[in-house]
Assembly symmetry: C2
Homo-oligomer: 162 residues x 2
Amino acid sequence: MTTAEMRDGTTVTPGGSAADTAVETIQREMTVFARRARASAGRMHPELTLVSYTLLGHLEERDGCRATDLAAHYALDKSTVSRQVAALERTGLVERRVDPEDHRVQVLHLTEAGRRILAQVTESRRTAFRERLADWPEEDLTRFAAYLERYNAWPGPGTGEG
Amino acid sequence: MTTAEMRDGTTVTPGGSAADTAVETIQREMTVFARRARASAGRMHPELTLVSYTLLGHLEERDGCRATDLAAHYALDKSTVSRQVAALERTGLVERRVDPEDHRVQVLHLTEAGRRILAQVTESRRTAFRERLADWPEEDLTRFAAYLERYNAWPGPGTGEG
DNA sequence: TCTTCAAGTTGTACTATACAACCGACACTG
DNA sequence: CAGTGTCGGTTGTATAGTACAACTTGAAGA
């Protein structure tokens, strides 16, 4: 994709053509990925939507947290999180414990069932990813992972994730 | 994330812990990215949703194609593409030309307005990405871009993109 | 011709999401 | 202690994107 910067007929800032090409490619490929992600996730695990999966994962990683924390971390509206959590509670994957310190907050925790489902989906997803990345040298894997983490760590409020 | 492979309590195949950790991270970060992408894209360009944007992009790249081709390329249902295209036609960004060879098919083309909007959104997105990636060394940018291309080139039908 | 297939459209339903309005519980501050 | 603001969360409403199934129309073969 050496001519990426000309695809839409605009010119690029001078002196950075390699970097510009790379930025263009990153933008395009991230977009392609994003376009496909949700749908295929749904096909893979009808049990757990992509959203539910990431929410449960965060809960496990943090060993419980508030709905507000989830909303902040995933840049979601609190109403969205509220409904997602309600659904997860309804299906018994999550439980709420009112914080005795502050009766406004509900600390969310995985239930045993939630932990089990999460593990199962994680394993299935990992298998798919591993297959997909099977022929990558380990060095490339770790570098790719580091790049993604760095990319996602950007603090800006939705400045360029899509 | 050095203990990623233990997060769900399962064991991993022996002899690949660094690679497994990386795979886990890639999976997680790609997921986070996908989770955010659509929403922020919508916030950035109310004119053109992420879906419309990718569709227009494909149309420009291929210089016109059929709705079925779009569906296949993006792993979307034909009904979805049908509605998306209808919307794009309604807003005058795309036009249909019935194939004289086969009256079933409609070859889709960008209109002048479509080309203009696409260029404008592409530029705006590129700016955002460039800002976000501003402090990355060029070498990292090109490597990251190459990794993403390689990742997305995987031919499997939605095996692990989410 | 009759059947089968391919391209697209339309009906219906569901998920994810945002925004706005709201409620209840803290936390200050006068 | 009352008044005011703030924070965590829920609910009402609207929208995008999507799938699946049923259907229409046109093309291609048996």
